[in-house]
């Protein structure tokens, strides 16, 4: 573990969104198709809101 995992902001967002979406999709839906739809929708909103907040904060970063 000494090498470490150096992810960019977007890579970390993508990994987080993907893993949490899959976990919540499996917990909240029983049917495979419904699970897939939930995961895709959740992932989309995670990324959209994450990137959106990033751009909304851009004017305050400098």
């Amino acid at each position: 573990m000494s090498a470490g995992l150096h992810l960019s902001h977007f890579q970390a967002l993508l990994l987080f969104a993907l893993v949490v979406s899959v976990a919540l999709g499996f917990l909240s839906r029983r049917e495979p198709v419904e699970r897939f739809k939930y995961i895709a929708r959740s992932l989309f909103w995670f990324l959209l809101i994450g990137v959106g907040i990033g751009w909304a904060l851009y004017p305050f970063s400098r």
């Binding site: 573990m1 995992l5 150096h6 992810l7 970390a12 987080f16 976990a23 999709g25 917990l27």
Partner: protein, 138 residues
């Protein structure tokens, strides 16, 4: 989708007695996914195990802060509660952090959040397993 097709994907467990549901919840807390595995909900068990495991591994590899129970302030103690929610993975994360946390970089800070999310996600999964064992969740 028909009822028969739904039953094929993952059958809802029959309602169990409260003591057994508590055992299921505690098993799920200690080992992510074990609670659902005891209920033969294999897909959810695997998803919980892999999700919590991936978050803990990534969090530790990103040198996130693994809080200990000897927290100096309320935030640290709250962080410990969140981290400890991942059960045995908390101990694995502790053993993996050879160089200690490094939150001076963004990835270290993200790692701290990944570890906390893994614990909270497992708490949610254990609660779901308890509710499923009581027959209140499918």
């Amino acid at each position: 989708m028909t009822e028969e097709a739904i039953a094929k994907t993952e059958a809802p467990p029959r309602p169990q007695a409260a003591p057994w549901a508590v055992v299921v919840a505690i098993a799920g807390l200690l080992v992510p996914g074990l609670g659902h595995a005891l209920l033969r909900m294999w897909g959810r068990a695997l998803a919980c195990f892999l999700s919590v495991g991936a978050l803990v591994y990534a969090g530790a590899a990103m040198r996130g802060n693994v809080f200990s129970w000897e927290g100096a302030d309320a935030f640290s103690r709250l962080g410990f509660v969140a981290d400890a929610g991942s059960g045995v993975f908390y101990l694995i994360a502790k053993s993996l952090e050879g160089l200690g946390p490094d939150v001076s970089h963004s990835y270290g800070d993200y790692g701290t959040r990944f570890l906390a999310t893994a614990g909270v996600l497992n708490l949610l999964a254990a609660l779901h397993a308890y509710e499923a064992a009581r027959g209140r969740k499918a």
